[in-house]
Symmetry: D2
Amino acid sequence: MAIKLTANSYGKSDVRLTKVVREGKTHHLAEYSVNVQLTGDFSLAYLGGDNRKVIATDSIKNTVYVLAKENHFTTPEQFAVLMAEHFPSEYKQVETAKVEIVEARWKRIRVNGDPHEHAFVNGGTELHSCTVYTARGGKTIVHGGVRELQVVKTTNSAWKDFWTDRYRTLKDTNDRIFGTSITANWEYDRSDADFERCTAAIRTAMLEAFASHVSLGVQHTMYEMGRAALAAAPEIKNIEFRLPNKHRIPFNLDPFGLKFENDIYVWTDEPYGDISAFIERE
Amino acid sequence: MAIKLTANSYGKSDVRLTKVVREGKTHHLAEYSVNVQLTGDFSLAYLGGDNRKVIATDSIKNTVYVLAKENHFTTPEQFAVLMAEHFPSEYKQVETAKVEIVEARWKRIRVNGDPHEHAFVNGGTELHSCTVYTARGGKTIVHGGVRELQVVKTTNSAWKDFWTDRYRTLKDTNDRIFGTSITANWEYDRSDADFERCTAAIRTAMLEAFASHVSLGVQHTMYEMGRAALAAAPEIKNIEFRLPNKHRIPFNLDPFGLKFENDIYVWTDEPYGDISAFIERE
Amino acid sequence: MAIKLTANSYGKSDVRLTKVVREGKTHHLAEYSVNVQLTGDFSLAYLGGDNRKVIATDSIKNTVYVLAKENHFTTPEQFAVLMAEHFPSEYKQVETAKVEIVEARWKRIRVNGDPHEHAFVNGGTELHSCTVYTARGGKTIVHGGVRELQVVKTTNSAWKDFWTDRYRTLKDTNDRIFGTSITANWEYDRSDADFERCTAAIRTAMLEAFASHVSLGVQHTMYEMGRAALAAAPEIKNIEFRLPNKHRIPFNLDPFGLKFENDIYVWTDEPYGDISAFIERE
Amino acid sequence: MAIKLTANSYGKSDVRLTKVVREGKTHHLAEYSVNVQLTGDFSLAYLGGDNRKVIATDSIKNTVYVLAKENHFTTPEQFAVLMAEHFPSEYKQVETAKVEIVEARWKRIRVNGDPHEHAFVNGGTELHSCTVYTARGGKTIVHGGVRELQVVKTTNSAWKDFWTDRYRTLKDTNDRIFGTSITANWEYDRSDADFERCTAAIRTAMLEAFASHVSLGVQHTMYEMGRAALAAAPEIKNIEFRLPNKHRIPFNLDPFGLKFENDIYVWTDEPYGDISAFIERE
């Protein structure tokens, strides 16, 4: 039986970095979970246990901390770019590197109304993410993103006129609750964009579009959120969404002699509508 | 072999309620997970499968939605009080009722700077919780609380002069990161307190104390947070904390010829210091 | 405002221990998560940041590994007993110690039908747990237990003749699916029982009772499982259960011209019936 | 600003199906979580809220239960094949369908040594998975798989002779613990293979290879596991692995005057080596 190793990659995942930068009395806090994946000339490790070209995943982990120490950066995208470019530059056996970072959202605690110099409180369930790809001799490609940005609107959301057949039991509705947990990823047109400004602008655009749109469906609003994001951040080429429909089911009050008036619902995690799109500039 | 059923209780857990209240164009959104536990004259169900006195947990679930429909409330505490008092009042076989509610924190999306009428974004990892106990013929006891309120401070936290023996390897430090995920529960002195004001006041007091305290240890700061909470809310009798110490471990930069300057850490979930206290008015 | 510190405790949680014991070529593998909680003369740490009597939680963590190295044990209960007794014996400021251990269930991989000497595969979602309490000058109390032992039976389970009122919508059923995730804790009558034999006997007794019982309700079967466990292990004094009712909801096939024949269900995690009992020898 | 919708898909995820098949007194239990994703002529829903061609995700959910009722199947692969083929066949607007199923592993409870007719206990953390793709006018492609199959071996695992540079701190070792949680996916060469036999054969082959291999690294053993799987199941064309390296870190006993003898470790979840390969027949 002849077999072959068609593809392989390896790296270290969930490397947990805290970096504190002190600017006078003001401290800046960044907490990242970092994943690094490499491809290259590593097949001998699989085929015969010859590890001589393999950079140990422990060494990859060390690299995260050393590069965090030696470099200045203010966004996860900047750090991911320098991490990703490090590997093919440092190791001739590395062909491509992919670095993913997920950042927890900390905001300053307010004391007597003022933001505190060195104390922080979690700023939401949402996570800021980015993914950077490099290939030897190629361009560095930067994606920004957000995960678990939970939103809900209690009206201005319809779902009607969809396909009717044997499998349909849901009735048309002009007024339902629309809740989702936004996962979005967008591609920057260069690797030194103003990531902080863009991320904030895209976040605001998505939230405002979600709130203001008169929705005829998750798909409909998703497209509008994409349009708004592309308008808000000229530096991005495209945006990809995955919006699970976190259903709120009307509770059947009939057996109790009561009337449902868009007021009493069961919130659910599953099953969920699972809707995706990729939207780009023409 | 003679055996006896010494204690028993039952109920329904994780009943997921969404309630929307429309005040003109302004919508108010509450999303709760509700647990109900009952004790009373239910032993025959265990001993012989005689269920005649048992209120089905499905009926308990229905009760959550029906009472949510029929009653006005603006806080989970108010809803938990009326839920808890319902059961011994409605069923002679019920002796005690305990109702726990965990509320997700939604805040209004801002559109052009203004809070939106009906669109919301998740307001943090933290959850607002409450527990209400009633016993037939007794007083209703209300606890408020908060869970998973994640905070971190990057200085003004020491840990030193602790017990030294064979098992100690940790060195004294005058400057470490102090991170925790606050779980706190407090007892109200009556069942109709201004829960919303109290919860906000206690939250602010805890956060400000955490930020401002020059900490000699988790225990030390916990006591100060308790003092601040009791001062901020005269309506509470006591407060109980559980503060896991979410350690940030200095990364050893020595092998790389670099110096740790309170800047590069590994954030960890486990193992964690696990520290509790119960603080009350004298 | 006068306040007091009424109670306090502290320790280290989720200390993750792997111990390998080599008996010739045969390796024995134990993987535990260990929690230690201490009470005693520690109030000065809270009241004024005086840590001189405090054994650092880092030292507690070290103690877990050092005692694991220095002692022979074959069950988590044995290790928890020696851990718990260590603290008041070693430190005059410790009054009580509580040690909880959760053990993952590994079983040997079979190679050509034979159990392998040193390779293991996870033996189920279930976890073996124990909790040991000691107080200075008192007896050591040992609880064994199991968590997340998931079971389901597809017939011989009824739910009927329960309380009928306005809040009831569920119909009587003579044949439903009964699924649960068993959490059970039992108390040994001494601290040097044959824990391994007892745990196995109780597990078998619970599973056989669950399978064989003609159930009139979760409560009914729970009591039978308790009876069987107490009969199987004379060394235990009592047993406490928490059995969430992991409902399988009949799927409504009527709209599709099909008939439900106890065959097509929706499995759910929430809401769940939540049923507990404490059963002891008379 | 001109934008375009380059790609889109939608469906329903985590549809939770329980099916009981009664063969005389013997019951067969299947519990699946089903995801369905469709592509096709759905862009108008995004671009303008025109939902007329959209099969509601609620209808997709209904389809899962109706097809489960109307069809006989004994493996998730068979059910996924008929589900996937249903959509393009039933709806002219559907171009492709992807159906993923994850199956919990139930095994019969033994009573007095015999497998019980209708009572089951969870058979491990591992999940059996499959993914089926269809495209209008194309072949149906079936992948089988396993997730979270946790294994550990306590010896016959080395890690040495890897790349040495500034970022390396890990020493060579001839004897370490090797633990992982196997995720594997394999592609069948036809859509009516004997999935049950193949899955069992691949599972056994992977476990035996893991146990018996004298490992020079995760990569090395992964390739051997792939070779064994391909040898055991002629019906599969290729196999893809992702093996996180669930590190067990030697605990440093030096400060306590004790010696590490491959006996006392810290088990960890993160960071983890994250190693993948795609292996196929030549």
